[in-house]
Amino acid sequence: MKFLSKLAAKNLFRNKLRTLISIVVIAFAVMMVVVLRGFVLGMIDSMFELHIQYNSGHVKVIREKYEQKQRLLSLNYPVKGFENEGIEKMQQQIKELSEIKETIPRIKFGAAVSTKNKLITMMGWGVNPTKEVNFTDIEDYLVAGRMIKEGNKEIAVGTDLLTKLDAQVGDKLTIVYTTSWGSFKGSTVKIVGELDSGFKLLDEKSFYLPLSQAQKMLVLPDQATELLVETNNYRKVAKVMPDLKRLFQSQGVADDYLLKRWDQGNSIIQYLQIGRKIYNLIYIFVILLACLVVINTLLMIVKERRSEIGMLSALGLKSREILILFILEGLVLGVVGSFLGVIGGGIATKILSIVGIDYSAALADMEAELLMRPIFYPQFKMSNLIFSFILGVIVTTITAVIPAKKAADLNPTEALRN
């Protein structure tokens, strides 16, 4: 076996140009896989991350009836704790469960500001500033002023909304809204921060307000419209679901509340998960295309070396050993090509992961609800390089079986007659 490997490696030096072309094609395909996969991982993970941070948490606790009305920002079905004891106690009980890291309450509500000639509608986010800053990257988007502080009657506003309001940090603003009782009210708040996140939802429509102020203004004492649960690992969220469900059952509110996992009930996330699987097929397809060159090369080699194959049979090599010899030649091509491809792809991905790819023009006309960063940063991950290398080697080796089988099946006398 050792000698066959040595022979396979040496055989590749017979026609250096042909070997080089095969290696370059494999390297190019593997490089494409590395970059494409880095890009897809970067894009999908970024979308998952944003979806979790600004929409779903790892698990979102809402009232069953709120589900239908959340697009309308209804305040009629708030989370108000077990036996109406308030969300503080509910949060404590949830946090006592294993694998639960944090709970993040939010009140999302509709509000408006009347300017000289028009009414500007907005979406208010009543949040606990400390928890929000820890759970999301919102603070990174502050371009002016500071983040809101708990207890203060102040807001941080998306940058485009601020322009629409013709206001700036330091200004005071009177917002109008409907309370949970249905009464129409107005409050004056101070703008303390400007947020430029690149997400249309946050920049064009939203403002952040401390949770306690939102509860007071909207008459939602110790309540929230949703309670996000953060676990230790969002990919293992299925593990904590039974405990959570048990808690809600033991409190007798299992029918009233909905526990939504981040990856369920959102069509975009589900599409992305299917997309991930489809991309895996695309990677294999890309390498298979390159393997056509390898198959062609090896078939030519088999044709050229017919008499040598006959000689090897005469020498006592079994068909299986001849098969292995040619598969090994494919393997060597696969290993060298994939290695070079991984290096090239790794360098390209590393550069792109720092520079990023600007998608802002493409995202300009997209729905505001779609949380996407305008600049994607492909992920540079060792696991991606290893995956691409192994995929390159395996696919090349498997395809090498076709010409290798042709060599192994050659009749020795016919081969020698060549």
Partner: protein
Amino acid sequence: MNLLELKGIKKIYQQGQVEVPALRGIDLTIHRGEFTSVVGPSGSGKTTLLNLIGCLDTPTEGKIFFDNREIEKLSKEELALLRRYNLGFIFQEYNLIPVLSAYENVELALRLFDDIKEIEVEKRVKNILEAVGLADFAHHTPGELSGGQQQRVSIARALVKEPKLILADEPTANLDSKTSEEVLEVMVEMNQQLDTTFIFSTHDPLVWDYAQRIITLKDGQIAEEKSS
């Protein structure tokens, strides 16, 4: 003692709808240590006969016994092992692997053995290269060797495993008369030293002079048999 016994061997090739008989009934016995030459014009069946003896092909009819084992009863894998341990081949075109050195080409035959030590491989390859006069060319690739030297490598490759039988198909066909003589001398020497059985196919009269026994084939049958 008999090494090889052929009984009523017929070989018919199918070329499209036409049946082409290559051998029409050969009965032959080869003893250990014989230096036999199979001669005859082109198409007389020399190569076919050698292929059958070398277990590279099977007869259409008849039986071949190698070392008292009936070849027909062996599986493909067993035939490969029989060739590996008992047979050596020398080809007209040498069939050396161009990317391997003379040493490695010879070594290849021994590397197929399951239970051979590294030191034994080295010793046997060096000895045989020395015996065929190529000790100084061990690290040359076939492209760097003359035709005669390449054929010597091919002889060394066949001999290094010390097989019971060596089959040589037109071994001197591509060599000039001086080199042919040198190569034949080497084979005679090996035959005498190691008591290896040799069977040649040839139409080179020079080889006839070296052979102890000459079998003449004509139209797939033994036309004449001479022993010196």
